[in-house]
Symmetry: none
Subunit: 189 residues, 4 copies
Amino acid sequence: MKEFDKKEAIYDAMLEMIAKYGFHNSPMSELAQKANVAAGTIYHHFKSKDEIICALFVRQKNKLNEVLFKNDDPAKSYKDRFRSFYFHLYEHFTKNPKEFTFLEQFVNSPFIQKMNKDDLHALDQPVYDFLRKAIFTQSLRDLSPKIMTALIMGSTSAIIKLSLSGEYQFSPSDLEAAFLTCWDGIKKV
Amino acid sequence: MKEFDKKEAIYDAMLEMIAKYGFHNSPMSELAQKANVAAGTIYHHFKSKDEIICALFVRQKNKLNEVLFKNDDPAKSYKDRFRSFYFHLYEHFTKNPKEFTFLEQFVNSPFIQKMNKDDLHALDQPVYDFLRKAIFTQSLRDLSPKIMTALIMGSTSAIIKLSLSGEYQFSPSDLEAAFLTCWDGIKKV
Amino acid sequence: MKEFDKKEAIYDAMLEMIAKYGFHNSPMSELAQKANVAAGTIYHHFKSKDEIICALFVRQKNKLNEVLFKNDDPAKSYKDRFRSFYFHLYEHFTKNPKEFTFLEQFVNSPFIQKMNKDDLHALDQPVYDFLRKAIFTQSLRDLSPKIMTALIMGSTSAIIKLSLSGEYQFSPSDLEAAFLTCWDGIKKV
Amino acid sequence: MKEFDKKEAIYDAMLEMIAKYGFHNSPMSELAQKANVAAGTIYHHFKSKDEIICALFVRQKNKLNEVLFKNDDPAKSYKDRFRSFYFHLYEHFTKNPKEFTFLEQFVNSPFIQKMNKDDLHALDQPVYDFLRKAIFTQSLRDLSPKIMTALIMGSTSAIIKLSLSGEYQFSPSDLEAAFLTCWDGIKKV
DNA sequence: TATGAATGAGATTTCATTCAT
DNA sequence: GATGAATGAAATCTCATTCAT
């Protein structure tokens, strides 16, 4: 097995455990078992448990950016492009709840403060750029891209969280309504 | 010191620790020190660490409802009343960041799943009720109150998080713009 | 069992282990067993393994000073007093080889550099003072007390080490000769 | 790189690490790094970590004997020859503190007991022989060569240790006085 | 009720050594 | 012989919880 595979196995196992059990209750011994490696091997690839968790966050954020922009078509209207992001995000995370749960746990924990500010910013750059252009071309309300990102991602995450919790079953028309509520708020009037 | 005071001291100490260091890295021994009680005393008031954390969540949610509805005036328009909620929330949490950070950490962690569904629902009831009435009276878009709560609280939380992170300094007009973005999305057209 | 007893039990167990097996090969788990306490109890009294070792050194140095000056009689000549020290030291350490072996291991290891310089100096103060007075009264050669302490303690330790190693069996006259060799070197001519 | 070079590189790296950090805190992985060899390579040349340490001791003792007797001139008086040894030793070790620190650590640790008695004796033979002849020719006090070696090496080591610790700055006259103190003790009266 | 020393299971991490390449 | 990723036993240390006072 190549180094690449082991690191990936460690990432996958950690993602699953943290999503299920949280940072605590995710001991390294079980991580080793789930990743099918020896405990010591983990420390050959990472300096500490915290380092794994932070590196995993970066990995997942990059994966997320790939997902978001996979089928983006700059020829389309901003509304259509945004709509595509919205539904992609929803679909991806409802199909991969572990990724969502991990990311939300991470950004709401003290871990996020251990991250380098510039690195964090770079991970959000693709989204910022998209929104900046949309604002510049008068497609979106004149608002700081940071605030707009917060508003959009905040409400979208809440929708996904509600869906994953099982508290509410989203029909396609529910989702469309949620999307429009968001869009009507941010669009240029 | 009365029993009441000790419980409160324990709650306050736990809130501060978890906000700063997370659920892990908040050992009971330090909790005892910060709350100025003996380790054993904590176990006279609570069965376990988990119980403290869950009870603390309930305490903070109730406090939050009090804050939200403190100055609500049903005679006013729904827009004004909602505006008041929005600004109250922002002010309260930017002045009490520990409370916000704790709540966000809790609801995004596996702890939330240990809570009784009905209890959870009851804690959100005041907000649901307000929104349900607003929808019924055609002040707000026709959307499930659950979805609407998610959209509103999600975007509001994101704004507060952005502000607390220090990444963006909100001016009064920024906050007004954020409020309007939210309102324009949810209002009945 | 009182706190005092547990700390002492830990010290005694550590002394024995290190003397026999060295700093490495003296695991905390065995220390707990030998001291008849739980592993966690050790950390109730000490911050770390290193702290125990350093505190143990201080304890042993103080014990040693007590031994050295126990029967000192300032009315006697410096030669007689020094002779008494020499034989006391030899007897004490040949009867308590663990104490000797621990001290020698410690002062020759990197641990000694972790100690505070002033604390170290204070532990040697009684011996310095004795020698300073002896030099001042022209009983001993005019030499810095630090150098003289080094010369005396170095040769004495070497004699004890030789004796403990079993490589050489000291007769009373051997010891007397060793003492005189030392004395003839340091006395004022 | 020849096998010879690798072994030497391993020895040098181990010497430095142990002098700085002690036997514990000198892991094989770092040894490999410092010696610029792979971890596995070390095990082609040595059976175990302990074997390296013991072999290193033998290497350093032999080096030391070379240094001691490098410029010995049997035509000179025993006092002059001994004086030469004394100053050579001091100079060599103050210039190569790692060698001194390693040797002192080794002989004061349980490692010394793992060594073969005869091998150990052989390493000290040159010094024993010199002293035996000096005693036989009535240049030195009539004392067992073992005791005399202990007295001399013990006090000399203590002087070097004091100098290396930085606690005392030796002037040439300090060193001369220390030498004379030793010589006056051992010389035949 | 209150205390805080004591517990011991279990957490994270280290490290000497092996072995497939 | 040389490599260095992998191993897993064992090391240090943590911490929720208990219990004698």
